[in-house]
């Protein structure tokens, strides 16, 4: 087992939540290469439980288990975009339970099983290439 993953798993206890592991988590950008292909790190961790740091984009709807993890706070700039724009490098988070939104500019760490490959959400129609499933999250 990857030492970092082992430490993450071992430290996620009632008394020491995953969020206390600042610095050990994977940065979202490390899952992608510059050309938006999957990094070797991502390919090596496909199917495994990982911790990824990022920010929660404002959820698409209320009472949902789904949100998008972004590497920087998702600023919505009325002068830049005429419609909602998602960055290329995001992670779709499918949480275990209905989520309680966290402000878009508060760093979080999401923990879940990494799934690579294009997937279209049957309910939302949201197309993702990288997901964390069975996920939980906490403020970093």
């Amino acid at each position: 087992m990857d030492r970092r993953l082992f430490l993450s798993a071992a430290a996620c206890t009632l008394f020491a939540p995953c969020a206390a592991l600042a610095g050990d988590e994977i940065r979202l950008r490390d899952l992608y290469n510059k050309d938006q292909s999957f990094s070797d790190l991502a390919l090596g961790l496909d199917g495994q439980s990982i911790d990824v740091s990022g920010f929660m984009a404002p959820p698409l709807k209320a009472e949902t288990q789904f949100f998008v993890l972004t590497k920087r706070p998702l600023a919505t700039c009325p002068f830049c975009e005429t419609e909602a724009e998602w960055p290329d490098d995001i992670v779709a988070i499918y949480a275990r339970r209905t989520i309680t939104p966290i402000p878009f500019n508060v760093p979080i760490i999401a923990t879940g099983t990494l799934a690579l490959g294009t997937y279209t959400d049957p309910d939302l129609g949201f197309v993702s290439r990288v997901r964390l499933t069975d996920a939980r999250f906490a403020r970093a």
């Binding site: 920087r72 919505t76 002068f79 500019n105």
Partner: protein
């Protein structure tokens, strides 16, 4: 009493005169005379005295706009560029900050806005008159989002004027080619957002993408490159790596290529373009904006597009007008992410250097400016060489470089050189029905991370523009007219003077 005052004044004047004469005759004897600061200062004066106004008629005009690169952002760019080159940064000279360039300060407000947006600011440069917030190239009587006020309020653009002089016209941007700054070269619209459609019943104008196609067919635009491919293809249609979004089903790229326009959508097709001037060029490299320079892959840089544009346009013996925009300096500032602001700024500086290298001062007026500034600000008192992205370090007692010790605020925490007055980096976060918080602690490693957002005060999803001045720098015919503090629309009038000078 009067007599005594006169004597006193005479005495003071004599002392001043004798002091000046002493300094003049003994200039080289001054203890500081051998200092590089002193000799460099003397050289700067000599360079200024050697300036000769260029009164040639301009054959070509190139306007390079770094969107959102006001005086403050440009200061950060100067340091970042220098530090990337191994300097402390403050001493760096950007390609347009040499004595060859005249400069002035520019007042950027719009007719009805203290804080400007990029549409009317670019429109002012392209028509010679200030315009209304969020609108492009319509007179002051037109109203935002009101299609009925378009007819009769259309202004004549610089591109139309020089087309009448048989010059070619090019427009290049790292933003969508239908975005505010590039659109101001060719479009007239009651809303900058009507990039791929107009409201139902609006028959006084077509959308901005169609206006570009019409301009290319009319020969008003000969070279266009940027992002925004989705606005040129029908919804869901895929072509050349682009995916369309036009609800009206029009395929503008097909229309263009059927009319003899060359098309490129990636590095390879860009390299294959025929730049001999025989067929117009359209390059659309992303569905929306082109990538930040820091993330760029598979598409040309701003300097590469600049080179292609000049090579193409210079085949017209009557000359050309070219507007080049680094559109995403602005976007990264909106994100509150100084790293991408400044890496795109360096790409802009490289485009300026490219344009300068490929042209002749005798016949080409080069103008370098910004459309507006942002709510960016700078902390103190940082020592020399403090990383412009990182923490404000203390001033050293000896030598020049900072002492490597982060300065601490009253809360006992370090702070970065750059800060924003508002934006996503706010230290106040939503907490129930209110916003509250404290500044997070910060390390140098965290601060210089490419994805770090410098701390901001007022919480906003997107950092805002500011009304602060920008600078304009220029060389070539009639560049010397840029002096003092000018209204933004004066830029057009200098361009017009330069191309029509007798």
């Amino acid at each position: 009493m009067l007599h005594r005052t006169k004597i006193a004044l005479t005495g003071a004047s004599l002392i001043a005169l004798s002091t000046a004469a002493f300094a003049e005759s003994h200039a080289m004897d001054l203890p500081q005379a051998s200092s590089p600061w002193f000799t460099d200062g003397q050289a700067a004066v000599e360079a200024l005295m050697a300036r000769q106004p260029n009164l040639n008629r301009a054959k070509n005009v190139i306007v390079l706009v770094a969107d959102g690169n006001g005086v403050g952002t440009n200061y950060a760019l100067r340091l970042f560029d220098g530090q990337q080159k191994g300097m402390m940064g403050e001493e760096n000279v950007l390609p347009y900050e040499t004595p060859e360039f005249y400069n002035a300060l520019i007042k950027t407000y719009n007719i009805n806005a203290q804080t400007p947006d990029s549409a009317p600011t670019a429109g002012a440069m392209n028509t010679g008159v200030k315009q209304r917030f969020n609108m492009i190239n319509l007179g002051g009587d037109a109203l935002i989002d009101d299609c009925s006020t378009v007819a009769g309020n259309e202004l004549t653009t610089f591109s139309e004027i020089v087309t009448g002089m048989d010059k070619s016209v090019g427009v290049v941007s790292t933003a969508r080619i239908t975005h505010a700054t590039p659109a101001a070269v060719y479009a007239k619209t009651a809303s900058r957002d009507w990039e791929d459609s107009v409201p139902e019943g609006c028959d006084s104008q077509v959308d901005i993408a169609q206006q570009l196609m019409n301009a290319m067919q009319a020969g008003t635009i000969d070279f266009a490159m940027g992002g925004g491919g989705r606005f040129f293809l029908p919804a869901d249609m895929e072509m050349g790596g682009l995916k369309g979004s036009r609800a009206d089903g029009l395929n503008l790229i097909e229309t263009a290529t059927a009319g003899g326009v060359q098309f490129a959508s990636d590095d390879e097709s860009f390299a294959a373009l025929d730049l001999s001037g025989t067929a117009p060029v359209l390059g659309l490299f992303e569905d929306s904006h082109m990538q930040y320079e820091a993330d760029r892959s598979g598409e040309p840089s701003l300097a590469e597009m600049t080179k292609a544009a000049i090579n193409y346009l210079s085949t017209n013996e009557n000359g050309y007008y070219l507007e080049i925009e680094a559109g995403r300096v602005d976007h990264a500032n909106h994100d509150g992410n100084a790293y991408r602001t400044l890496t795109d700024g360096v790409a802009f500086a490289e485009a300026v250097a490219m344009a300068d290298a490929l042209t002749n001062d005798e016949d080409t007026l080069i103008i370098v400016t910004a459309d507006h500034e942002h709510a960016i600000a700078f902390n103190g008192y940082c020592g020399r060489g403090s990383d412009i992205l990182g923490l404000c370090m203390g001033v050293a007692d000896t030598g020049e470089m900072n002492n490597g010790e982060p300065l601490l605020a009253a809360d006992g925490k370090p702070y970065t050189v750059i800060g924003y007055l508002n934006g996503a980096g706010s230290v106040l976060v939503e907490n129930g029905n209110d916003f509250s918080g404290a500044r997070p602690d910060l390390t140098q490693e965290e601060a210089i991370d490419p994805d770090y957002l410098q701390q901001a005060l007022i919480p906003m999803s997107s950092e805002t523009h500011s009304g602060e001045d920008v600078a304009v720098y220029a060389k070539g015919p009639y560049a010397h007219l840029f002096d003092g503090t000018l209204e933004q629309n004066v830029i057009f009038h200098v361009m017009h003077k330069a191309v029509t000078a007798e």
